[in-house]
Amino acid sequence: MPLTLYDKIWEEHLVHQQEDGTALLFVDRHLIHEVTSPQAFEGLRNSNRKVRQPNLTLAVVDHNIPTTDRSKGIDDKDSRIQIETLDKNCKEFGVQLFGVHDKRQGIVHIVGPEQGFTQPGTVIVCGDSHTATHGAFGSLAFGIGTSEVEHVLATQTLVQKKAKNFRVNVNGKLAVGVTSKDVVLQIIGNIGTAGGTGYVIEYAGSLISDLSVENRMTICNMTIEGGARAGLIQPDQKIFDYLKGRPMSPKNENWDKAVEYWKTLKTDSDAKFDKEINLSAEDIVPMVTWGTSPQDVVSIDGKVPNPENESDVDRKNSIERSLKYMGLEPDVSIKDIKIDTVFIGSCTNGRIEDLREAAQILKDKKKATHVHAMIVPGSGLVKEQAEQEGLDKIFIGAGFEWREPGCSMCLAMNADKLKPKERCASTSNRNFEGRQGRGGRTHLVSPGMAAAAAIAGNLDDVRKYQN
């Protein structure tokens, strides 16, 4: 029977198929962080269990950590306790940790690929819903809860039921100023926030193959915003080149064996998908979200929707609720929306290519005076690379704050948060109510669009700012 890439990875990882349809699946790579792991380690301790494969586990601090100077410790007591708890747990159970003062520290989904910990054909899990990011390497990567984190630590497996197959084909070429962030926002707008529930998505088509490895990560990253737990892309030469020589990538004869295997990781040409959609890259323009769900997308040339035009009562109520929260009037032009804050960073858009994209727009420009703007690199290594390229000088020159790596204002667990009614153009992944701070208003955009918004002081079309 012809199989999809997902089917093949699934079968390769079956430890035991149970009669009730559930399966015990082997986990090759387990990433952990300070927020969703303490209760899992506590569970292990209470049941007198060990970490089965510490070598297949990697820990990073990211969610909670301040992005200002950390050399003198962390002021917030609860954050400090959580970070210290991870440190203690990793020592006790023999897990490698990139801690606060390690230059490899960063956002878990940026660190994994950067270190070569992320590899094609593997099953990768993490107690974080954006784990699908690693699917860009042709791995089956998905987010899990803390009980499942404990299960993986103890058994190196997970009890899972197979999902259905969904293929999203994007063909053609993107116009200048349009990025993979716009592509994924367009996809979520099309399928809706629950459109992928119960599926694993494979992204395919000529555009996806043309994208760089990091741009592919942006697309896979936001898969969960369309409801699917995992999204993946067939690995190719770009992926192998990206991984070659990274600290945790296979070495010597293992490298050759690995690449030989990775080349077999593809969907059979006659494989059947349970659901399939097609998008044309030429139709995609710079996108913005107007509401409080990632499916609430509109083009930068568009207008805020009018609930009166909606016939479905639930949908109408939902739009009204969103507009009230967002402080927006129906039918207002998107480009007339003034912003207070710009945030560039997160596991969606905190990699070096994202920073280059923003820097290209910001070069020799200044942010609008009323805008507070910050850039948070995705990892210590991304920060170092950006500084070597002089990007930090462009950002600081444009009036941006240049911060230490972490999740920061994407989820606002640390001090980086919006005040009530503050409006932000953000390169992160969620515009939920209160996500970036109580009462904060989020508009999701690409790094280039965020840079354009900083200069203009309102949401604006990045295509006007191409240097």
């Binding site: 303490p38 769900s293 969620r430």
Partner: protein, 201 residues
């Protein structure tokens, strides 16, 4: 884990779609290293004003819904972050059963790890049941029989047999998986031979 068998309660009703896990428990409460104590912060931003006072017209703040064990909500409940703090907060508040027409995958599986039963029903049934919340009348849930009884009516619901068994018996699924240790050993041995790079050797 607490066993789930039958449950009787006046249901609380939140007629909102896409209730995400940030709404269920905002991030400032994720700094805990415990599973308990999150109930008072459940639906924090809808439940309290800027000064920390309870918002009067939010149903879960008022009798009898402050004691509801069943929550009825709009579709795609629990979307967003994987935080298990969401079911922990529901559980700590006293809610052990959620009824919606659909759930986000990660939230759905997290419920079962914590003795919470997430029931999926059609929108029409949800509307019917919400009337019981409006009238402050009890409904009852029977997991073994897979049915909800309301007034003189009843409706059946589907559930995965393995998940049902775990809830009914309050099973520790790590212990169940560790019974398969021999199979895991065999798998790892084979993996070391076929894909040695996985172990960084």
């Amino acid at each position: 884990m607490q066993k789930f068998n039958t449950l009787k309660s006046i249901p609380a009703y939140l007629p909102i779609v896409n209730i995400d896990t940030d709404m269920i428990i905002p991030k400032q409460f994720l700094k805990t290293i415990k599973r308990t104590g999150l109930g008072k912060n459940l639906f924090f931003e809808m439940r309290y004003d800027d000064d920390g006072n309870k918002i009067k017209d939010f149903s879960l703040n008022n009798e009898p819904f402050n004691n509801s064990k069943i929550l009825i909500a709009g579709n795609n409940f629990g979307c967003g972050s994987s935080r298990e703090h969401a079911p922990w907060a529901l559980l700590d508040f006293g809610i052990t059963c959620v009824i919606s027409s659909s759930y986000a995958d990660i939230f759905y599986s997290n419920c079962f790890k914590n003795g919470i039963l997430p029931i999926i029903l059609e929108e029409e049934k949800i509307k019917e049941l919400s009337e019981y919340s409006n009238r402050k009348e009890e409904i009852s849930v029977d997991l073994n029989e897979q049915k909800i009884v309301y007034g003189n009516n009843e409706t059946k619901f589907d559930i995965d047999p393995f998940k049902k068994k775990c809830l009914l018996e309050g099973l520790d699924d790590i212990a169940l998986s560790l019974e398969k240790s021999t199979q895991i050993d065999t798998y790892e041995k084979k993996l070391k031979e076929n894909k040695p790079w996985i172990f960084n050797d």
